[in-house]
Point group: C2
Chain length 424, copies 2
């Protein structure tokens, strides 16, 4: 137990979280941001819209942590009880905040263009014992309370509203209030080796790490992210120390390393294409546009992604991509020859340097004895040759699509790497 450590607790309020109508993405984002600053999220608790349970959670978490961040329970509909509760908990009375009122009025005038309701006006009421955090993205204000040297911040549950308040107001105020350590992360993205094999290969490296530097394995879809985290007082010192260890880790895992940054595979590919001045296009059957979506989720992707075809029906494979009728009849849509022609077809159609194509059976229906659900063919057409590979995935439809996208992107990456090392 580190007594110097600054702990945070996250309390999320709302029946919709407990009954699973909403997936909590806020807590993960908050955890990341706090962690970067050297604040440890000790616990995360979700409670329903029940007065006593919210009250108890406040009591309980304030015994565990110096910073208590609360999201949810501030919407305009009647079932919300959080604001009056906070008012009672911190011993205040409700007043109208002029800034919050003006904000609600502005949003209605500019975007909603309907008359305001009483429930909207009530959003401008806050306990008089808080500092109001204005909401630049929505109508519910945030509230900052202090009690016994601890900080409590209540924010709306809408992710982009909460993030805006955290980034603009909450996070910048924390370093002045707490003595925070320096924290440095270094992340290596690997592909091709499972978690336990990686751990086995670097077990001596891991065993030799000093106690203030930790190694985490973060597996996801056949890739594993390895993260070194160093904590200390002197930032310059721990940076030097962690950089040396990170160098060593990269040397040991060179053959499975994708990139030495904490970015996604699609970002890594974007950088690689941009650096080499190359372009790519996609021809997707079973992934239905998901790979194009991943590539274009990166800002600036228009520099290297020209376009794609989702050739779901065989008529599109033939008519738009130029796959042979005979190939589709004899080998089928899920075959090496079909994906080869799809990749070469879209590369020609869109005049790109590279093209990826995918055809497979994602389930739950559509499988046969010869080609069971999960059978996937992928092709990458590159500078000189087209590479093909068969995969067998074994999950549900959603995950099969996700895994297949990662497999295809990694094949593309390997082709680019092979071509560009040939250039040197």
């Amino acid at each position: 137990m580190n007594n110097d450590r600054i702990n945070a607790s996250i309390i999320t309020i709302g029946d919709e979280l407990l009954i699973g109508q909403t997936i909590d993405t806020n807590s993960a984002w908050m955890g990341q941001e706090l962690n970067k600053m050297g604040i440890w999220v000790k616990r995360r608790v979700a409670v329903g819209d029940v007065y006593d349970e919210i009250w108890n959670a406040l009591d309980e978490e304030s015994r565990q942590s110096q910073i208590i961040l609360i999201t949810g329970g501030l919407g305009p509909t009647a079932d919300d009880i959080t604001k009056p509760l906070l008012c009672a908990y911190f011993g205040g009375k409700m007043v109208v905040d002029e800034g919050a009122l003006q904000n609600v009025k502005n949003i209605f005038e500019k975007y909603i263009k309907r008359p305001m309701l009483d429930s909207n006006l009530k959003q401008a009421e806050v306990p008089d014992v808080c500092t109001v955090i204005q909401n630049h993205r929505g109508t519910a204000p945030g509230m900052w309370f202090e009690k016994d040297g601890k900080i409590f911040v209540s924010m709306p549950g809408v992710p982009h509203e909460m993030k805006n308040m955290m980034t603009e107001y909450v996070l910048p105020r924390l370093p002045a209030m707490f003595s925070l350590p320096a924290v440095v992360h270094r992340t290596l993205l690997t592909a091709g080796l499972g978690e336990s094999y990686l751990a086995d290969r670097i077990k001596e490296f891991e065993a030799a790490l000093p106690p203030h530097i930790k190694l985490a394995y973060l597996p996801n879809f056949g890739m594993v992210r390895l993260r070194l985290t160093a904590t200390g007082k002197n930032e310059t010192e721990i940076i030097a120390e962690v950089d040396q260890l990170f160098e060593e880790l990269q040397n040991q895992l060179q053959d499975v390393m994708v990139i030495n940054e904490d970015i996604t595979l699609e970002e890594a590919i974007g950088k690689l294409l941009a650096k080499n001045g190359k372009t790519v296009s996609t021809a997707e059957s079973c992934t239905g546009g998901y790979i194009a979506h991943l590539i274009t989720s990166i800002p600036g992707s228009s520099a290297y992604f020209l376009g794609g075809v989702v050739s779901y029906d065989n008529s599109i494979k033939r008519g738009v991509l130029g796959v042979n009728e005979g190939t589709l009849t004899n080998s089928g849509a899920v075959s090496e020859e079909t994906v080869r022609q799809m990749a070469e077809g879209v590369k020609e159609l869109m005049k790109t340097d590279y093209a990826i194509s995918i055809s497979g059976i994602m389930g739950p229906g559509g499988g046969s004895e010869e080609k069971p659900v999960g059978t996937v063919w992928i092709a990458v057409a590159g500078k000189s040759a087209t590479v093909t590979q068969k995969y067998q995935t074994r999950y549900d439809r959603k995950r099969n699509i996700e895994v297949t996208a990662i497999n295809a992107l990694n094949m593309l990456r390997l082709s680019i790497v092979a071509d560009s090392s040939g250039d040197e």
Copy 2:
């Protein structure tokens, strides 16, 4: 406080959750499944890989709930402490489970095809005081413990492994152990009216609801899901009661109702197209394949979705979709005339009954004074006419893409509904 209520607590274990490397999707799924059976998730707690904190969470949650579901902390790498802790907590000793050992061996033989490591073999060890739940999707077995009339189930954190154990083993055993109420849900998907306006329109309906029937507002991307939940002893009675209220709710909200089922917009559209025997194609610029992905995420979508073009670069809009050079030069890629030609072009190319097209600026870059980030044009080409609409979104890139997809799908839906009502 309802004393008859059966409560569950969910404990998730793992530093990766607290530092935000992993988004917890398990809890939402578990909450949904339990809720359907009449079990109320009272609390959800996430703790790190810290012995005392896991122990305390077990103590604490067993005071709140009869069912304690634990996920995570069972991976093969060294930092996992959960299994020995459970062994000590329930007073057992570790033994090798033959079934689990055989399962690990099978998975290595069939899928991984590498020699097993000690860390893999250790996954077959379990406390001798638990009932083992075999893992049909991975190597870590689940563990079922009973203590003082309460149930504790420990499962891996990998979502599809956990879901398989819950569906095949855990959930089917609960009704025999607890006296559960009947719970009935009815869900209405609406579009076009915000949460507070909906609430205002049906406030009398809501005020007149009996105490055992609750109404929840679940807003998401400009759509709001309204859910009636009835709880009672006699299932037949509450079904009759909730169905009558649901009928009334549908009557009051007919103009904004998308569908009277708990499904997504893309599923609702799929049903509509299938029912009318119609097909659709897509031409996406700024959404980069995301709409095609949403449509094809639905099993069986190949019956009505033929394909799409992601025309990211203007050369693809011209060369593949046939957009006029002059239109692109004079009106620009983000314009009414361009999306009209894109929709009509892809409809012709893929020979579908309907086509959607989208062109816009998703940010963060690419905006101008005349066309700021968030400017989006959408067209739907239908039976007789092409409908166009301009939108202004105001979020980050990811959310702009998501909101735009919902807007486009809803425009498609309205076109199909208009056309098919014209048929009658």
